[in-house]
């Protein structure tokens, strides 16, 4: 089946890109990450000297002990290998989610393992992004449909202008404005989403999370839905001019069914995939937005890691975003193929 084969090709493509990117990143940042490792080793060695046995040793023994320890750690972290080997090792490590340890920053549960730290924050980012994505794509599609149906009306013009304006707004800045307005001025919502509420019962917890998530959520929705409505509008306008829509009308299909049946169904493959693309495209802005609101997801981790110069964490985060991005695209293709019976090539292949 052509679709299955196509998907496999896309998947392999994504994998290849992923491996190449990780390799390049590893090669580029090996040096920086190693400097941190060296500091780490020195700290480990110093910690070892705290051992009471160490104090009792003679001076030459102490020196020897330190040397041995250092050697041990150098070997453990693989710093004794050649550059190429080290880069390959790091590539392999990254691909197996073995990002190494952070320098100072621990995870909330106290782990310094970068993969653990990221694992703890990732679900929260996904929660925020997907909720926002679902909300703004639904609003966007409905608004886009309406303005496509009334192309040229003042609603349509308004939406287009709104889309152009939001296109040039930094999402995180809108977040700051919302804090000024809704948190500082009106006191409706908390300015900081951190810390998230404790688990009492599910509904209380969900309510609490929603309350704290509200501002970042409406920020993402506000900035994204205009552009999205505009995209859907153009898509729908294109489809509305198709002959099959006229045929459906001529056949006596009720207008509501024409729009929500024929038009929307025909637009669905593109709409769904483009939603995923838009969502992926907004990851960058949303990451920064998170840190504005202190939403304890990847964005806030990014912010802290940058402030504390935690290169290993930043590398880990970069890997995770690249990964999400690449496989999000494959997923988009998968959905496209599922929704469009004609499919042999996905949207990403055609764009």
């Amino acid at each position: 089946m052509a679709y299955g084969r196509y998907l496999v090709v896309r998947l392999i493509n994504a994998l290849v890109v992923l491996i190449v990117v990780i390799f390049v990143i590893s090669a580029l940042f090996n040096k920086v990450a190693e400097d941190q490792l060296k500091v780490q080793i020195e700290e480990n060695v110093r910690a070892a000297t705290k051992d009471p046995a160490f104090a009792r040793m003679s001076e030459t023994k102490q020196k020897e002990f330190i040397e041995n320890k250092r050697e041990y750690y150098i070997q453990m972290y693989g710093l004794d290998k050649t550059y190429v080997e080290r880069v390959l090792l790091r590539t392999k490590g990254t691909l197996t989610l073995n990002f190494g340890k952070s320098h100072k920053l621990p995870s909330p549960t106290g782990s310094k393992e970068v993969s653990t730290i990221i694992k703890e924050v990732l679900p929260r980012s996904i929660l925020l992004f997907t909720t926002a994505g679902i909300i703004y794509s639904i609003i966007g599609i409905l608004v886009g449909l309406k303005s496509a149906q009334r192309a040229g009306s003042s609603l349509d013009k308004g939406i287009s202008i709104f889309a152009l304006v939001t296109l040039s707004l930094p999402m995180w800045w809108v977040g700051m404005l919302f804090i000024l307005l809704f948190a500082f001025k009106l006191h409706w919502f908390p300015a900081s989403s951190y810390p998230l509420p404790q688990y009492e019962n599910f509904f209380q917890y969900a309510g609490g999370v929603l309350y704290k998530m509200f501002l970042p959520l409406i920020t993402i929705v506000f900035v994204s839905f205009g552009g999205w409505a505009y995209t859907s509008r153009n898509l729908v306008i294109g489809i509305l001019q198709e002959d099959f829509v006229r045929v459906a009308r001529a056949k006596g299909v009720p207008e509501r069914k024409v729009i929500y049946g024929h038009v929307l169904r025909a637009a669905a493959p593109s709409i769904v995939t483009l939603t995923i693309f838009t969502l992926l495209g907004s990851i960058g802005g949303a990451i920064i937005t998170e840190s504005v609101f202190n939403w304890p997801g990847m964005g806030r981790l990014y912010w802290t890691a940058i402030q504390m110069n935690e290169i290993t964490i930043i590398m880990g985060l970069t890997f995770v975003t690249v990964f999400l991005y690449l496989f999000g695209m494959v997923f988009a293709d998968l959905i496209y193929g599922y929704l469009d019976p004609r499919i042999k090539v996905g949207v990403s292949g055609r764009m």
Partner: protein, 318 residues
Amino acid sequence: MDEILNIENLKAYFFTTRGAVKAVDDVSFTIGRKQSLGLAGESACGKSTLAFAILKMLQNPGRLVGGKMVVTGMDITDFSESKMRKEVRWKKISMVFQGAMNALNPVYTVGYQMAEPLMYHKGVKKEDAMEKSTDYLELVGLSPDILTRYPHELSGGMKQRVVIAMALLLSPDLVICDEPTTALDVVVQAQIMNLLKRLKKELEISTIFITHDLSILAEVVDRLAIMYAGKFVEIGDSIKVYRKPVHPYTQKLLGAIPKLHEDLERLEYIPGTPPNLIHPPSGCRFHPRCPYAMDICKKEEPKMKEVDADHFAACHLL
């Protein structure tokens, strides 16, 4: 002979930013039961617009600005959109669209799209509707198993047959075929034409046949209408119009076809440019290109005159 369609002084304009495009301007004609009318004219003279105007389905910014339309004795001029949908479209008048390649929604199966008119007009269940569709598929020479297929899995000719079957589904009184064979290759064109000829004999329907292939028209249609710049210039018994055209434009049009089976592209060879429909020429709209143009032609619009039994034309020469 009872009248299926009676059109009087129909006007359909497109109100664009540059001005009103008078795509159909003061057109009158009637079609009787089992009768078929051929409609020919240069590209952009308003043929498709006329077809859509009859269904009251003009695309924006098109509007019906005048005239009267009676379908099987029913005056539909003031019918509302929903009344048109429930009582006229597809039930009384169905249409085979120009460029049927795109007439099928790519994301629905052929079966579903065929079933739709039955579902919405007769309240038939989807399964039963599919069942009924098979009869019509057989009628147009297709096997029923394509019901579950998607449009892109069919050839152009098959799609065209599906579209024709779909148009016949509710046994309408009138089927408008808007260039049903363009975009098909010659062999398939011939097959479709034969199919249409056969159907015309077998079924009790009237047809309006819009085509670029004037040569075929004579064989298929009973009457022939020639349109120029939004107006009918000649209409009548097809043999008469074809053999003895009286309007200079019709003569040019037929003269421009040296052999059979050469398509209307040739019409581009008529000297002069097609008229601007926003500011059409005064008097007879053909006068800038007419070799016989006289002074009066620029000033006064010629009226339809009967030149023979069932043969009318609008020209000051007559």
